[in-house]
């Protein structure tokens, strides 16, 4: 599925309607971007949630603050924190932003030290949440909002997927023609034989990024040794590896790596919403998805504030604030904000994997990545 084609696939009547709406909204001083992408306004909290929040708020004010560790875009966490503090004055929200791996490393190190700082954790490393739940690392708390989230990725008493991320091929349209860009995963490996792409493509680093790890695992589960051949080819083409997709984004826009074989959906969405020279393609033979749960630390230093934030994060209002800041998807059944360039799950051929098994297979997978990709890299350096 090609995101840009969707927009250009509008017929003339629809196009005129949209243009008229945008123009009219602009004249009235309404941000047309909000009008197009907000969809319905945030759903109000149900009475059960409201009652829970009222009780928690009084206790949270005594605690005074809450700390969120999150791995989405920096602006997403700040938007959520700002909205939370506006709704619940007197409870300061500290937001620490790091990649998923970094968040877990910090969380685990502090937990090991008995110096818990994080109250609420949100990352894209879903397998880690499954393990945490089993190890008693997450607080058992049944949020009244959990029922609004996808059942397959939710444990109602421990975590819910506030976000999910899919990965696509994307390119800088100033430097790569649409016709040149690969459309299948097999093609991404085939173009590596062309010298033109030597040192010009980027992939994620599974050591440093949960989504990259999920991408690699999903492809290996679906295609086995063929997938490993692709990663060897990427190495031989001297692909740049990025633990941070933000940095990958920057290098793609700057022209160093104009073709990215694994960019995150929300980053593509943001770039295209901002009319940057970016296009993307979600291969029809299969796309990986990394659910992004949030959960409460069992040893949260501010347990009541943690529950207050968690409920707010899961609420439609909190979820939309987070989505708007990060241009991302949500695991809410209602779907939240409808973006122009962010396909929904139903539009994609999602690769189905066992995330619990992924946690067990992680170490071996990373070792094999080092061997296979590393061998390719070594060959590329001659």
């Amino acid at each position: 599925m090609d995101s840009k084609k969707n927009l250009l696939g509008f017929n003339r009547r629809e196009f005129l309607k949209v243009t008229g709406a945008v123009g009219g909204a602009t004249l009235l001083g309404i941000n047309p971007f909000d009008a197009l992408t907000a969809g319905a306004a945030a759903e109000p909290m149900d009475s059960v949630t409201l009652a829970a929040q009222e009780k928690l708020y009084a206790a949270a004010k005594k605690e005074g603050e809450v700390t969120l560790y999150q791995s989405s875009a920096t602006q997403a966490g700040h938007a959520l924190g700002k909205a939370f503090m506006k709704k619940y004055p007197g409870v300061k929200c500290n937001v620490y932003r790091g990649g998923s791996t970094k968040c877990h490393v910090k969380f685990d190190t502090e937990r090991r030290a008995g110096k818990d700082i994080c109250d609420v954790l949100h990352t894209s490393l879903y397998p880690a949440f499954i393990k945490y739940r089993g190890d008693g690392v997450l607080m058992k708390y049944a949020s009244p909002q959990a029922k609004y989230y996808r059942d397959d990725w939710t444990d109602p008493e421990y975590y819910a997927p506030v976000r999910f991320t899919t990965m696509a091929i994307s390119w800088n349209t100033d430097l790569v023609k649409d016709a040149e860009a690969p459309r299948t995963w097999a093609e991404t490996a085939a173009i590596c034989k062309d010298k033109r792409w030597f040192g010009k493509i980027s992939i994620g680093d599974p050591h440093g990024g949960a989504t990259s790890l999920t991408q690699l695992y999903s492809c290996v589960v679906k295609w086995g040794d063929t997938a490993w051949d692709w990663w060897r080819a990427y190495g031989e083409a001297n692909a740049g590896t990025f633990a941070s997709h933000g940095a990958m984004d920057k290098e793609m826009m700057a022209g160093k790596y104009p073709l990215s074989l694994e960019q995150l959906d929300y980053r593509i969405n943001k770039a295209m919403e901002k009319k940057l020279p970016v296009n993307s393609h979600y291969p029809s033979e299969g796309v990986a998805v990394a659910p992004g749960p949030a959960g409460i630390n069992a040893k949260a230093p501010h347990p009541n504030a943690a529950k207050l934030l968690y409920n707010y994060f899961l609420s439609s209002e909190g979820c939309q604030a987070f989505q708007k800041g990060g241009y991302s998807n949500t695991g809410r059944k209602s779907g939240g904000i409808k973006w122009n360039y962010l396909p929904s799950m139903s539009e994609l051929n999602i690769i189905d994997i066992d995330y619990g098994q992924m946690e067990k297979d992680m170490k071996g997978l990373l070792k094999k990545f080092d061997d296979v990709f590393g061998a390719g890299k070594k060959k590329s350096r001659g």
Binding site: T67, Y69, A73, T74, H78, G81, N94, V95, Y96, R97, G98, G99, S100, T101, K102, H104, V105, K106, D108, T109, E110, R112, A113, G114, K115, I117, C118, L125, A128, S202, H207, G208, A210, N238, G240, T241, F242, A243, S244, H245, G246, A247, M248, D249, K250, E251, M253, A254, G255, K256, K363, L366, D370, G374, K377
Partner: protein, 568 residues
């Protein structure tokens, strides 16, 4: 028992107690964490968890391709950076001290400005200049000649950045050597018939050799332990050196603490050995050059060539200071940076975001100022006490104290960070995750920097003044506070300024020890780089530069001290 009593009396003396207390403090903050880290290299579990002792980590490391590759890369860029840094530093030192190049007295400060700048920011700035895909220098070459000759994201790029930002070390040491050199030896050679070139090769260079060697080893060690430059220019290409490998082990999930500690151990042996060699050479150099006489150096008239040497110095200042930092500041005003920056992308939104929306900015600024100013004051006071004990007293164990106090100079910042993780994660004293662990790491690691300047200042002060105070009835504390400290003021201020500059740009230790609420400016920039927010990090980097410049100017004006005196 009778034999022990004199020793007990010696131990109970005030100055001996002081030695014991300070030595214990440094041992807890440096030796203890390093020891725990060393123990960790023989374990396979994270800190604090039981594990049988084994050599598995060493076997795994020595049998892995990645270790030898990272070691080879480390040596490659360290040697390259050293050669370039020494060449630039020595050539500039010779031009400034030994030739009639015009205007050199005004150029001395700009020539050492890179000393005060962060090499990490330097690397970031050079990506905007010399990246093959978006560097503006390549853009100029592409427009004129149709080629893009430079690629900063390469080992040669790392060598270039290290060489230019460490060249002031060589410049300062060698220019000091040249100034203190007795010119009569050169004059004797010239009057015996040797020409200028022969005199330089056979007389001047051998006399400069200890200074050149000392600066070469100093640069080599600094380059080998450097983290910021290879992380910016090599991590995304999976081009590792030892420091970035250590960082990589600690950033993946799950963390490999033991392997990080094992590689850190290798680095420690490597840098420790080099520091020992350097100290030997430095001691030799002082013996040769320090004396009671001052010399008028022999100046070589260059004729028309003096304008070429002037151009060389001005070119260095332009290439190393004006161009990269000017570009870095410019990047902060663009939405996107590219080879041909487009005016339509000029914006203030990066500054708006950093100043009014990004909550970490002010937290990091506050923490950096607290650590830089507060930490520098603490370190300088401790250094003053140590210097006084070592130089002025006959305290028991003062030489051991001196050795322990200078030990941290052999410990790279990243290694100290690893050691602190091992030592303090499970400590009952709740400092891990707070700003105090950063304060302790900064102070203990950088005491040797201020200790040297304060010790040398103290050695120049006549003991008679302190002895007069003692004879008049002042206690040793009163004497220290009212007589010694005021006389030490130039050394203390120089030490403070040096430490302030070092602390405010510190990255390698901070990147492992910071937590939510204890971020500092360099770590914030690193995180923004990691997130691809280049223009925003340029804005924060510019703030750091402004802060550093303002504090330096303020202190040098208030205490009437020349910046060049700080680093000599």
């Amino acid at each position: 028992m009778k034999r022990i009593i004199p020793y007990l009396r010696l131990l109970c003396r005030r100055d001996s107690i002081l030695v014991i207390v300070i030595a214990a403090m440094i041992s807890i903050t440096v030796i203890y964490p390093l020891s725990i880290m060393v123990v960790g290299t023989f374990k396979s579990t994270p800190p604090g968890e039981p594990s049988p002792f084994s050599l598995d980590n060493y076997v795994r490391m020595f049998s892995s391709d990645w270790f030898w590759e990272a070691l080879g890369h480390t040596i490659w860029i360290s040697v390259g950076g050293t050669l370039l840094g020494v060449f630039l530093g020595v050539s500039m030192a010779w031009i400034v001290t030994r030739t009639d190049t015009p205007g050199v007295s005004k150029l001395e400060i700009p020539l050492i400005v890179p000393f005060f700048l962060s090499p990490f920011i330097g690397a970031l700035a050079w990506t905007g200049l010399a990246s093959a895909d978006y560097g503006i220098i390549n853009g100029w070459f592409d427009a004129i000649f149709g080629v893009r000759p430079f690629e900063i994201f390469s080992p040669w790029g790392m060598i270039w950045v290290m060489g230019i930002y460490y060249s002031p070390y060589a410049f300062l040491i060698v220019s000091g050597t040249l100034r203190n050199m007795d010119p009569t030896l050169e004059e004797a050679a010239l009057s015996s018939g040797a020409n200028k070139f022969q005199t330089m090769i056979r007389i001047t260079l051998p006399l400069m050799a200890p200074g050149i060697m000392a600066s070469a080893i100093l640069i080599f060690v600094a380059a080998a332990e450097q983290f910021g430059i290879p992380s910016v220019l090599g991590l995304n290409q999976q081009w590792f050196v030892l420091t970035t490998r250590i960082f990589y082990f600690l950033q993946e999930y799950p963390q490999d603490y033991s392997m990080a500690a094992t590689v850190a151990m290798m680095m420690l042996i490597f840098t420790g050995g080099m520091v020992l060699v350097r100290n030997r050479i430095l001691k030799q150099r002082e013996f040769v050059t320090v004396g009671g006489k001052s010399f008028r150096p022999h100046v070589i008239p260059l004729g028309k060539w003096r304008y070429l040497t002037l151009s060389y110095l001005l070119g260095y200042i332009f290439l190393v200071v004006i161009l990269p930092f000017g570009t870095f500041i410019a990047i902060s005003f663009f939405r996107y940076w590219s080879m041909y920056p487009k005016m339509k992308y000029l914006t203030l939104e990066n500054w708006h975001y950093i100043l009014f929306e990004y909550p970490t900015t002010w937290v990091a600024m506050k923490n950096s100022l607290f650590l830089s100013i507060g930490g520098a004051i603490i370190a300088v006071l401790i250094s003053a006490v140590i210097a006084w004990v070592v130089v002025r007293t006959k305290a028991f164990g003062k030489d051991i104290l001196d050795a322990i106090a200078t030990l941290p100079v052999a410990v790279p910042g990243l290694i100290l960070g690893v050691a602190y993780m091992w030592a303090w994660i499970r400590s009952p004293i709740p400092i891990y995750g707070t700003i105090w662990i950063l304060m302790i790491a900064y102070v203990s690691r950088f005491i040797p920097y201020s200790l040297r300047s304060i010790e040398s200042t103290l050695r120049q002060i006549d003991k008679g003044l302190e002895e007069s105070a003692n004879i008049s009835g002042a206690s040793w504390i009163r004497t220290f506070w009212s007589v010694s400290l005021p006389l030490l003021r130039p050394g203390l201020v120089a030490g403070f300024i040096l430490l302030f500059v070092t602390f405010i740009r510190e990255l390698s230790c901070s990147i492992l020890l910071y937590s939510s609420g204890s971020e500092v400016l360099s770590v914030t920039m690193f995180d923004l780089w990691h997130d691809g927010m280049f223009p925003n990090l340029a804005a924060i980097g510019t703030l750091q530069l402004i802060l550093t410049a303002v504090v330096l100017m303020l202190f040098s004006k208030i205490f009437k001290i020349r910046i060049t005196e700080v680093v000599r």
